[in-house]
């Protein structure tokens, strides 16, 4: 049973339609007869049958045909011959039969249309869903793009795509326009335009970098400057990465342009700060060296005295009545030895007075302590202070700036000497080196002096804090910043029963072997 439109209509209405349509044909025909017009019932009846078939289906259509036949036979053609009646009945029958076919075809057609409509409706629904999904994806994409644009803006990083074969820039993000100083309304910039915005001094260099990378099918990276139309100069850095198709041909480069002006500026500021710190440290060193002038002069004077003694001795052996060449040679060797010692001292003074960039290298802390003691021994002598060193000779080397570390030692030793100048008890300064746990070396300077100023103990590391009548009060502040810049710590504590200890640590670099594990003490009494 095919689904037909008529099924939706109640049965009574469908059969009613047969009665009504045939009735209407009858009414109209009677009206025609009344006005003496030619009687067209057959034509109206055919229409009624057709309408009924069309709208109400087969059974009501057949009813309409039968009714039409009866009405025509008994009301209009009652006097006609039986053959004529039969002929008309046959015509109605054939018409009804044809109409059943028509109705069936129509029903099939309608069914097909319905099926097609259903298919189209489904397709339409699918499309609608697709469109909704598409809108969602588009919205997500827009959001993601907005996030990306924001990230690019925040990081001053633009992205681009460029085809080396055609030389055409294929993609240029919003941030690229801003960094490179182009107007986004101008569309994708041309490769030449990109180069025109680059500082003239950088053009040739980056052209070469790009060319070399393209030739070698590899990544590139370069720093360059951009001149904006307003004359503003931007420091930029660009990275490019080649993209290949499945057959291995170079398709394009994708990459970034980063505005590093702020970063560069910050680096310059940091550099200036480092220089200022180095200047301050140097000034502080020179102040200390100034305080040491008398001692250092003495320190140099000793070997010079020995040199003169040796030279005089040599001359005496040579100018005797019986010259003794052996003795003279011996004395001359002494001259060389002592002249070298004088030169060493001068070098030591010069290296610590030198103003230069911080240079980190592997240094032996014990050697630095030894040199510092040699330099300051005389200063200690002036105040009858004995210096004792208690060194762990098995210590590994550390990465440090030797001048700066010596400056810290010098500051601490000078402070200790100052603290002992006026005390009556035994004046002893002890310098120790130790391994602190596994990661640090610890160097400490202990004295038997006046101790830390009790009420201001936490201020001693402040700038310009001083208990001395001379000096700027920068020594400990600078020492602490030097130690901290090496990754260590500097602190002070009072000794019992008197005096103070200043200690600092220097980190042991990972992977540096210990020289010897056996700790041993070396004593230098001065």
């Amino acid at each position: 049973m095919h689904w037909t439109k008529q099924q939706g209509i109640p049965l009574a209405l469908r059969y009613g339609l047969a009665l009504v349509s045939v009735g209407a044909a009858l009414g109209v025909s009677l009206a025609f007869t009344h006005f003496n017009l030619p009687q067209p019932f057959s034509a109206f009846a055919l229409s009624a049958i057709a309408i009924t078939f069309w709208y109400a289906g087969t059974a009501p259509g057949i009813l309409a045909a039968v009714l039409s036949s009866i009405v025509r036979d008994y009301l209009f053609e009652s006097n006609t011959s039986t053959e004529s009646r039969l002929l008309f009945d046959l015509v109605f029958l054939v018409f009804a039969f044809l109409m059943t076919r028509v109705a069936r075809v129509r029903n099939q057609l309608e069914l097909r249309v319905a099926e097609r409509t259903a298919a189209l409706t489904e397709l339409n629904d699918n499309l609608k869903r697709e469109i909704v999904k598409h809108h969602q994806v588009e919205a997500e994409l827009r959001l993601s793009e907005a996030y990306l644009a924001e990230a690019q803006k925040l990081s001053h990083t633009g992205s681009w795509a460029w085809s080396p074969s055609s030389g055409e820039i294929r993609y240029w993000s919003e941030e690229c326009y801003r960094v490179q100083g182009f107007d986004p309304k101008g569309g994708l910039p041309r490769y030449e335009e990109f180069f025109q915005s680059v500082h003239p001094d950088d053009q040739a260099r980056i052209a070469e970098v790009i060319e070399r990378a393209v030739r070698g099918r590899e990544d590139f990276e370069f720093d360059y400057r951009i001149i904006h139309t307003g004359g503003e100069i931007i420091d930029a850095r660009s990275f490019g990465h080649p993209i290949f198709d499945p057959s291995g041909d170079l398709v394009e480069y994708v990459g970034t342009i980063i505005d590093v002006t702020d970063r560069r500026q910050a680096e310059k500021e940091r550099e200036r700060l480092r220089e200022a710190q180095a200047d301050l440290a140097h000034a502080s060193r020179m102040t200390t060296m100034g305080e040491l002038t008398a001692s250092l002069a003495h320190e140099v004077n000793q070997p010079i005295t020995a040199v003169i003694n040796g030279a005089s001795t040599c001359i005496r052996w040579l100018t005797r009545d019986d010259p003794d060449l052996g003795e003279a040679r011996e004395a001359a060797s002494g001259v060389i030895r002592n002249a070298k010692r004088a030169a060493d001292i001068i070098n030591r003074i010069r290296s610590i007075s030198k103003k230069g960039e911080s240079k980190r290298q592997l240094v032996n802390v014990n050697e630095l302590i030894g040199e510092m003691i040699a330099l300051l021994r005389n200063e200690a002598n002036r105040y009858s202070i004995s210096i004792r060193s208690d060194l762990d000779i098995g210590l590994p080397e550390v990465m440090a700036d030797s001048v700066q570390v010596q400056q810290v030692m010098m500051n601490l030793i000078m402070n200790s000497i100052d603290a002992m100048k006026d005390v009556d008890r035994a004046r002893e300064l002890v310098i120790r080196s130790r391994r602190e746990e596994d990661q640090y070396l610890m160097i400490s300077v202990s004295d038997s002096g006046v101790g830390l100023p009790s009420e201001q103990a936490n201020q001693i590391f402040d700038a310009f804090f001083t208990t001395k009548s001379h000096g700027l009060g920068m020594g400990l502040r600078i020492s602490r910043s030097i130690v901290e810049s090496h990754g260590g710590r500097l602190w002070a504590a009072n000794n019992s029963p008197h005096g103070a200890s200043f200690s600092f640590t220097v980190p042991i670099p990972i992977g540096v072997p210990e020289q010897r594990s056996k700790p041993s003490n070396a004593h230098t009494n001065v």
Partner: protein, 125 residues
Amino acid sequence: MSCNKENKLVAIVDDDDSVRGTLQELLRSAGFPSQGFDSAEAFLTSGNQQQTACLITDIRMPGMSGLELQARLNAERCKIPTIFITAHGDEEMRFQALRAGAVEFLPKPFDDEILIESVRAALDR
């Protein structure tokens, strides 16, 4: 306690090994035997004060200074002709040393002739 000077020993007190050593060599080349001490305390405990005919001493040393050594010897009535050698002597120090009986006060570095003449003069006393 007093000291006799029958032996003509020269004592050198200086904490600086190279100065002390070369000074001994210088005196040896001039024909004077000498003995070195790296501190005033070492000299005092050596028991050689009695034989010392001439003392050459540095002033600034860790522990007892040259001037303190001179005062100590004076207090012990052991008057040894003393030559001071110093790298940073000032006038006040020089005056103090000479007043306490020093025979010479020489700044380092010094002329060997002057030193040897002073030693000879001290030994000839």
